[in-house]
Symmetry: C2
Subunit: 389 residues, 2 copies
């Protein structure tokens, strides 16, 4: 285990009806807030009305900024920053999923500085303060509701960049599993994949003696594997959503990588797919991960065997450990397919003719490698993508 | 799963050499602090000197208050409160295990009020503020380093009482597994038992649909079961202490009871044993738990079967589920015994002639029950103790 520091101050308010507490939670920080959300679903479900009623009851005034799209855009962030400064707002409240929260975090950093918040995304300086951020979560997937991260896309050049800072841990996140009842099955599947990906990126590490966090990660994976099929059958299963939603938060709140170094190559490779083709992040990950695993399997076969046996209940073949590990990958692929996710580029509707271009972009022309478990150069990224074809 | 709120703001600083960061961590809160510790071990190991050097380097002045005993006493708490007020100290730094931390938390609450802090322990009012508390942990067991709890004993009448408040979450806790190298094997065993007890109290619940936290608790139990025997063989096994220490913190930091209601009868019963006889808390728990389990087994056999199969690797006998569950209890007893812990009152050197007295005190003369999983009245507490004889 490596030395580590861990502190996650986000207050989780979890359960039925908890969105009605948002006014009281917000009022603890400011009586004038930015109410930030996406499109029609929060409005159509009546959630936005309940949030407003709660704010009103707590004497909190708000300025609305809707219209966040998947892969949140810098343009809308700038608009939010302008509103926060002009209207002297003291909290950014995100009502939505990961994109809305990431956009809110960007606004919160931008509202307290004189220069463009995009500078931070380019690695020019780091934030030293931020407005507080609050969350009413509607989609369990990205884990942004209790994380330090934000990913924003600059429209010009379609540049997608991330910032990580302890300053943008949400102060509170309200999680009511009932909000998930209206999610389409495909979106649930993409969320399951996103959560599994957060867990697998952390699981595959070269740091020795991480047995405790191994087991915690396995426990979280098994939860998603157990609950997602129930949600496919019954999207209004409150109990299954409860397990799924809380697992999604813990998968990405930094607890599960204490003392470890994660991989993250698959995320980098997937970004190139979704950068060129219009595919959901989770759908892209379902294609990249099996291929990545087949490529790096022999780097630490024991770790893959442990994962296959413990997470996928593969019977250990002590005389053929590689077969055991491969059986784990096969069961994972079958699981994704059972949720309606493709596990090949072809199945995703993506032809294999731009693999070299993606590998080139992913490594900035073979200037750097991606991943920590195995460091992949341009040719190896291409090899992973060809395995995915 | 029940609705819940969860927020744990304690900053964990974990790993080799981290005690040298204590000055910087403390200085963020105050330049004048109370340095609170126990007896000779922190001094003999050189830890106290390193802590002082770190404080000095960070420009932090301190007033010393040593002498905390197991089952920390109110008298010393009063002395600490007096020092904090007189010397205008702004942080209480605990260097030690659960007793030192609990005493520090009491001082932190008492230092900001005009009345006796014991009032809170008697349930008269609740704290509304407290000095910040910092921790350098030397014994993984009680979990007080990231918990809301403090247990203090008033000498007169040997009254042992608890307070729980979010205000006394330590602001930072420094965990260096190397500090555990000098713990005697019996103290390691008692710590393992204390941690297992925190997990079992949470595990045995009547709240349905808690599959995710079930798995997290099981993962943490399995970690203690795997690591304690290694430490028995080699008390300087850094890797094993790392897993053990981090598991001990997570076992009691409130994450693992999110959405659940724990039992806690065994803790109440054990308090009566250690109240009369001079036995360590962990040693008493090793006696109470097997008996409690045998007594309540049939209340929810499925839960015991799940625990036996998943935690103790018992093969499920689907035709005799009770035998499966009992095999789990037997393996648990064997585990404690392998660590040198007695699992009967007799083995503990306690005769069975004061069982009725203990059952009476535990229920305040049959006025209330203890436990939530099964509510035990006086006669049932006595039955548990007789099973433990």
């Amino acid at each position: 285990m490596q030395n580590f520091e861990f502190r996650n101050p986000t207050k989780i308010v979890f359960g039925r009806g908890t969105e009605n507490q948002v006014g009281a939670e917000a009022a603890a920080y400011s009586k004038r807030i930015l109410l930030h959300f996406g499109g029609g679903s929060a409005r159509a479900s009546g959630l936005l009305d309940r949030v407003k009623a709660s704010l009103r009851a707590a004497g909190v005034e708000w300025v609305e900024l809707g219209g966040v799209k998947p892969n949140p855009r810098l343009g809308l962030v700038h608009e939010g920053v302008r509103l926060c400064k002009q209207e002297k707002l003291g909290l950014v409240l995100a009502v939505g999923g990961g994109s809305v929260i990431d956009s809110a975090k960007a606004i919160a950093m931008g509202a307290v500085i004189d220069h463009d918040v995009w500078d931070f995304y380019l690695g020019r300086g780091a934030p030293t303060s931020a407005l507080p951020v609050g969350v009413v979560l509607t989609i369990p997937a990205a884990g942004s509701e209790a994380s330090t991260g934000t990913v924003v896309t600059k429209e010009e050049g379609a540049l997608k960049r991330a910032v990580n800072s302890d300053l943008i841990y949400p102060r509170f996140s309200i999680l009511n599993p009932e909000q998930c009842f209206s999610l389409p099955p495909f979106q649930m599947a993409c969320g399951a994949m996103d959560i599994m990906a957060h867990l697998m990126e952390r699981y595959f590490t070269n740091v020795p003696h991480v047995a405790f966090t191994d087991r915690l990660i396995e426990a979280t994976m098994k939860t998603i594997i157990a609950e997602a099929p129930k949600l496919q059958k019954n999207p209004k299963d409150y109990d299954a959503w409860s397990e799924f939603m809380w697992a999604g938060t813990l998968a990405h709140n930094n607890l599960l990588n204490t003392g470890r170094i994660g991989d993250w190559a698959s995320h980098d490779i997937e970004h190139e797919i979704s950068g060129i083709y219009d595919v959901a992040h989770g759908a892209g990950l379902a294609v990249v991960f099996p291929a990545w695993m087949k490529h790096v399997l022999r780097h630490d076969l024991d770790r893959f065997v442990q994962w296959a046996v413990r997470v996928w209940n593969v019977e250990l073949d002590i005389f053929d450990r590689e077969a055991t590990a491969r059986q784990g990958i096969a069961r994972m692929e079958a699981f994704y397919q059972s949720l309606g996710l493709a596990t090949t580029l072809d199945g995703l509707g993506v032809r294999g003719d731009r693999i070299d271009e993606m590998a080139d972009k992913c490594t900035d022309g073979d200037v750097h490698t991606v991943g920590n478990f195995v460091k992949l150069d341009r040719s190896e990224v291409a090899a992973v993508l060809r395995l995915a074809a």
